[in-house]
């Protein structure tokens, strides 16, 4: 598990939980997100992600504003993580973005149907993340 943020900005920065079993991809995703001014916590699989989300809630720390997860992971895959989050009364409002290296329409459909905010293809680019960030911040403003 890894967590990082600038001093004194904890309450304001957009906090993203990035989940991927590939270390290369975790590091890459973390950099893309930080470059879009996000605070990033990484998890190497669905189970760790769930543990983090629950512990966060219990300790009353700053909420996770978005979850971005790889689809293909051993054990609990991204779709299963999505389902668990969406079926949790505490976490269901956290937007979940699924990323995958495979462009499979049936897969994309089922993720969107289960409530994923977006489905993006890997490898991600800086422009993808910037766009996502803007989009989600706007949504947040509207809800307020």
């Amino acid at each position: 598990m890894g967590s990082s943020s600038r001093n004194g900005d904890n309450g304001e920065k957009f906090h993203v939980l990035a989940v991927d079993d590939s270390q290369v991809d975790r590091v890459f995703m973390e950099r893309l997100l930080k470059n879009s001014d996000c605070r990033v916590t990484t998890a190497e699989n669905g189970v760790r992600a769930m543990e983090y989300l629950w512990s966060e809630k219990e300790q009353g720390q700053s909420k996770v504003n978005m979850i971005i997860t790889d689809y293909s992971m051993p054990g609990m895959n991204g779709y299963e993580l999505l389902k668990k989050v969406k079926r949790s009364s505490v976490m269901k409002d956290i937007p979940v973005v699924i990323v995958s290296s495979e462009n499979i329409p049936a897969r994309i459909e089922k993720c969107l149907e289960e409530g994923a905010k977006e489905f993006m293809l890997k490898p991600l680019q800086q422009s993808d993340v910037k766009r996502l960030r803007c989009h989600l911040t706007e949504l947040q403003q509207l809800v307020k």
Binding site: S22, Q23, R31, S101, K122, Q126
Partner: protein, 151 residues
């Protein structure tokens, strides 16, 4: 060698890696992420890629000498290797992985063994080239220069 010569050599070398398909556009994304806040980013990610790949190649080699090959396992390893090579822009390794997955689906043992040889070969090529590239970068920096951006 002075900075300008080193920079020229770097530019020529990197351009050739793109031209020959060893690296693709995604590598440029990686380079763009390197800045004063993370000056060793490319180095860090490339090293993770080396670690990951070597582990996966070992696992693949083990899986392929089993008396009864578990094609699902082989496919899972290749999928991971495809993912990380794709993320850093190692184009040729990624392409062999794509072919390898198709062969796995057909459960073609000889095909898999051939792909394994190809992957090992492509990986060792790109590893060597990335190491050369990083060495050139380090020489440029030590000589007080900046790493040129290659379009």
């Amino acid at each position: 060698m002075d900075v300008v010569q080193l920079q020229r050599r770097y530019t020529e070398y990197l351009t050739s890696l793109f031209t020959d398909g060893f690296l693709d556009e995604q590598f440029k994304q990686l380079q763009e992420l390197q800045d004063e806040n993370s000056p060793d980013f490319v180095f860090e990610v490339v090293n993770l890629f080396f670690e990951d790949s070597e582990r996966l190649l070992n696992e693949l080699a083990k899986a392929l000498v089993q008396p009864s090959i578990d094609f699902k396992k082989v496919d899972a390893h290749v999928h991971q290797l495809k993912g990380s090579s794709s993320s850093i822009g190692a184009g040729r390794v990624k392409n062999v992985c794509v072919a390898f997955r198709n062969i796995c689906e057909e459960q073609n043992i000889e095909g898999c063994l051939r792909c394994m040889q190809q992957i090992k070969h492509e990986y060792s090529l790109v590893k060597n080239k990335l190491e050369n590239l990083i060495r050139l970068e380090q020489q440029i920096i030590q000589a007080g220069g900046e790493i040129p951006v290659v379009e």
